[in-house]
């Protein structure tokens, strides 16, 4: 069905055409380097150096020690001190402080007398995630402080019934950057695959050159393969700088590099399949771009690349299963952070291949119908 000579000729034409397109090449390089670097460098959900105001109404050694514990934890930056309620509200309203620790006036006296006392933590909940993480940190700091005071105050302190040893697997320091790099690599692959393919095909449609191609002896399958191979090559090559960035950030590579490239190749093919699908629906470049722009945008960010799929509503979880990006993301997290191989990832692999096959078959059928 596929004639090697013909294929090579078409492929040469496509490769030349593709490399001549400065804009697309720029887009690819930009997405795989600048965008990944900036996002990894800047974006995180980590809660560190939370701007905090301390209202110490007690001004005793004990209260200062507690405030010091907050400061030295690294999670809270105590950059404001006040004892006026209005000022606390003002700082929170203006967003100058995201947390406020209020130590009541009788704090040290009650501590010394052995009566329970509570300190108040006011949190700006406008970012719910930051607030709930900060709440956990504050609780741990106060608990540690309380335990220490307690053990110092009684001659024979009762032992703690249950002690808890937490261990974090795969990313023991919980560095968000690890996740971010991998997520941006996956996002870039999706955007490059869809946009370049859709733009490439629609542009030929618009200029009418696709009709010329269709009257040549070239078969639809050959045409698609010839269109996709150069992009696939460039897409895989473009992964190299982003891998270097990943290594520089310190992302561990626990699995097999070859497996990563294999997954990337089938994933790129499947995202090109989406590009072909877009191109079959669009008649003009503008339509194609609008479609890939807006239809893609939700797919990009709702495939487990920003927030885990399992925290989405159930209906969305099923939809996410249909997105090749979801499975690719799972696979590269597995390969890099967990060091798992095909024995765990075969399911993701099968789904991506299936999606790619369905999309490509659809594309070929559509092209063939146009020929007759």
């Amino acid at each position: 069905m596929i004639d090697a000579g013909r294929l090579a000729a078409v492929m040469r034409k496509e490769l030349i055409q593709f490399l001549r397109d400065r804009l697309m090449l720029f887009l690819i390089v930009y997405l795989y380097t600048v965008e990944i670097l900036m996002c990894t460098y800047a974006l995180s959900f980590d809660v560190r150096h939370l701007p905090t105001v301390v209202a110490d109404f007690d001004r005793s050694a004990a209260s200062r020690l507690l405030a010091e514990r907050f400061r030295s934890s690294g999670y809270f930056d105590v950059n404001h001190q006040t004892t006026r309620d209005v000022e606390i509200a003002g700082l929170l309203n203006r967003g100058k402080a995201l947390a406020a620790l209020v130590i009541p006036p009788e704090f040290s006296r009650r501590l010394a007398a052995g009566t329970p006392v509570s300190v108040q933590l006011l949190l700006d909940g406008s970012n719910a995630n930051t607030a709930s993480v900060a709440q956990g940190y504050a609780q741990r700091i106060v608990q540690a402080y309380a335990l220490e005071r307690f053990q110092a105050s009684v001659p024979e302190p009762p032992v703690l019934p249950v002690e808890h040893r937490p261990r974090i697997w795969y990313n023991s320091e919980l560095k968000y950057a690890y996740f971010m790099v991998l997520s941006m690599i996956a996002l870039a692959g999706m955007m490059v695959g869809v946009i370049t393919t859709a733009a490439g095909i629609v542009r030929e449609k618009e200029s009418g050159t696709i009709e010329q191609m269709l009257v040549t002896p070239v078969r639809p399958a050959e045409l698609l393969v010839a269109k996709m191979l150069p992009m696939l090559l460039v897409g895989l090559l473009a992964l190299v700088p982003s891998l270097l960035i990943a290594a520089w950030v310190g992302v561990p590579m626990r699995g097999s590099l070859a497996l990563f490239f294999l997954f990337s190749a089938v994933f790129l093919v499947s995202s090109m399949g989406i590009g072909i699908l877009v191109a079959t629906f669009a008649d003009t470049l503008q339509q194609a771009l609008l479609m890939s722009f807006f239809a893609l945008f939700p797919v990009l960010f709702l495939s487990g690349t920003l927030v885990p799929v399992e925290s989405m509503p159930v209906g969305f979880q099923y939809l996410a299963e249909l997105s090749p990006l979801t499975h690719y993301m799972e696979a590269i997290l597995g390969i890099f952070l967990k060091g798992v191989g095909m024995e765990v990832l075969w399911h993701s692999f099968a789904v991506i291949v299936l999606i790619a096959a369905v999309l490509l078959a659809g594309g070929i059928l559509h092209l063939r119908r146009r020929m007759h």
Partner: protein, 367 residues
Amino acid sequence: MRSLIGAVMRKEVREIRRDPVTIWVAVALPLIMLYLFGSALSLDVKDASLAVYDQDDSAESRALIDAFPNSGYFRRAHEIRADTEIGPLLDRGQARLVLVIPSDFSQKLAAGKTAMVQTLVDGSFSATAMVIAGYAAAIIHAYNLERVHHAAAPVTVETRVWFNAPLKSVNYIVPGLFGVILMAFPPLLTALAVVREKEAGSVQQIFVSPIQPYQFIAGKMVPYAVIAFVEMLLILVAGLWGFGIPFRGSLLLFLAATTIYVVCTVGLGLLISTVTRSQLVAMLLALIVTLMPSFLFSGFLFPIFTMPEMMQMYTYLFPARYFIEIVRGILMKDVGLEVVWPQFALLLVYTAIVFAVATLQFRKKVA
């Protein structure tokens, strides 16, 4: 001279009406985007899968285990019988948290000694791993307190959350989306409207006509600004009714901010159109210059205070940051101009600069 603005406007309105796809895109897609991101973009931990390895199997261990699903944050997904099962469960992502209770758990408790339990957290998604680890620690702490009620902790922390007491992600995602969605559509539609004329060559006719650059820009801009404003009202109503987010502050102030922001987004579209000649480039520029940064670098999802100093400065380049701060201030914090005036001022200055540069660019072309 005003009539010239009107003429450009009438022409533009006619062109928009002739293109139903654009209207559909302008009205329906923002609503779809609001629905998708508003309901699915959440970092709240709920029903995270828990695997339990109970080597003790006593009343005490069961009480501790039951505290996990009872908290509402965890769902018991697996019972582990052997050490070797732990690794594969985490590897396959079938458990986010593994709780290991040793065989001497109840024995040690009875003897008044400290019993150890181990929790293993899947850290591959670090943002939720942090929350999961925090919840696990809190549950075990509560269990401890219950067992030693006679020795209450001397210091406790009492947390009060302001502005978003139920700590729901949707309450901060949706107001942020207002800023992002308005950066997605109006700039792009405006840029395409001008670049299309450039591609078709009809813009040359405008350059040789007696029309002034500012008149051309105003005439082009107004219809799209009106569309954008209607877009904003639609997503506001959808956000308030569909997602039940609070609106605590002044509607008037909100509309004032929206008006400035809408003009600003359309202005950015015009600016993009002055530096490009093809629709393709305009679209990619809109993607890289307006949509992506508004999504990633505006404080919409990723907090700005955790960014390195340099990147914090970078976020000032994108007006979405000012607008989102204003919107969150009005909707969630019920603050007025006395608090958000700096953002208002920055937004105004930004808009003025965008228009000045766009007009200058056009004048250069005419001359």
